[in-house]
Symmetry: C2
Subunit: 245 residues, 2 copies
């Protein structure tokens, strides 16, 4: 009973994104609603911290809802997991004040994007990374990434589609780490525009490949012109890692 905050993970491979679709496609929200229906006989209104796109994964998505079901809070993960397909996992459930809102209460979100630079795809990582077996100058990528940190108008890194009041966001961290033959991009910010992480990674790869200079990032921020940015990196490399409250 009351408001519940769930921390969930899912593999995006076989989902048409988080959000329920009119057309009845397979979505994370749809599967969660089915599980809640089976478990409680009710379909509460679900609020997610971030609506991930088709093919994008989550290791720390947060979903909140209010339920009248008499299930002790520590029993929710097992009860839901028993009713969910294996590509969605509920890790944690917490009782939160009714004022809690998974989306509006979030202070920052952290996304990770994995680029795999191996000659051939890694078997364990192929569903969770972008296979990019080309030469990259990591120092130039880091130089370009540094220009993204701070408060900026990220309009030039946003895809058209989602109407927003403002395109100004603050990125607290843009880390580029080499782990074996993979490049891990980790971005923490107070908000992300539609396809912003994938457009940033696509642009950083353009810089890393030598097809653009690190100053391109500054130009895109200044001009707000999506056409100057690199191609949108594919969804399977992206994972919503955590939401900070």
């Amino acid at each position: 009973m009351g408001t519940i905050k769930l921390t969930i993970a899912y593999e995006g491979t076989e989902f048409s994104g988080y959000q329920r679709q009119a057309q009845g496609e397979r979505t994370v929200q749809g599967e969660l609603e089915k599980a809640l229906q089976r478990l409680t006989g009710q379909v509460p209104k679900l609020i997610a911290a971030g609506r991930t796109d088709a093919g994008v994964h989550a290791k720390g998505q947060v979903v909140s809802f209010t339920s009248t079901a008499r299930i002790p809070v520590d029993r929710w993960p097992a009860a839901l997991n028993a009713n969910l397909p294996p590509d969605i996992i509920v890790y944690q459930a917490e009782a939160v004040p009714s004022s809690f809102h998974a989306r509006y209460s979030a202070k920052t979100k952290t996304y990770q994007y994995i680029v795999s630079r191996r000659r051939w795809p890694d078997l364990f990582l192929r569903r969770f990374s972008y296979h990019y077996p080309y030469a990259l100058n990591v120092a130039k990528i880091r130089e370009a990434a540094a220009a993204l940190v701070g408060e900026h108008d990220f309009k030039g890194f946003a895809a058209a589609g989602s109407p927003v009041v403002t395109t100004v966001r603050r990125l607290e961290r843009v880390a580029v780490e080499e782990v074996g033959e993979e490049l891990y991009f980790t971005l923490t910010g107070n908000g992300f525009l539609y396809k912003m992480v994938r457009n940033i990674v696509g642009t950083l790869l353009l810089v890393g490949s030598g097809k653009a200079e690190p100053t391109l990032v500054r130009e895109i921020l200044d001009r707000g012109d999506r056409r100057a940015a690199g191609p949108t990196a594919p969804p399977q490399g992206l994972t919503l890692m955590s939401v900070e409250y």
Copy 2:
């Protein structure tokens, strides 16, 4: 032209094992043969170092064959990968003497088995590990594992089915490593009987869970009785890592 040694990886999830089946089920060998047929117009006789079971993965399986196709040896991986489904990857091709035999020339093979001890499955590892969220005494597992090293009659760890001349094998290494919340079992040996690794891991988990003492391993080796061993661990935790020549 000549004899080719391929090093390949595959995800076993959607295969009925390595070996071609009479019934026309999806197998690694079958997919390799289809790719070779498309590429060269011929289906050479394929010899694999080890015939992995349904659901078992490989990161370093070795397959040899003789071909009259005029493809330079360094072009084989790209040419085959272009004709293979994404769950099989050819990593390397080498020209070898015609006396090379992927199975009989192998000195040792190395298998890895991943047991994931997390409360709930890890998203990235769920297809490549056995989710076992129960208490385990790793010191007792190591004690039991040590008794496996050396030359023994492993009859008690073999499943019935595959006729073999002798059930004596030599294990050079049985390592049990804790990596985060996963347990990695790594076994190197001069040969492995049918389901031997999975029977060994099942028995070690029985010991780790406290349901048997580490001395059980010695008893199974001495008695050669499969019924004393633990349950066969499921296939998805097992990966053929490499074959040493």
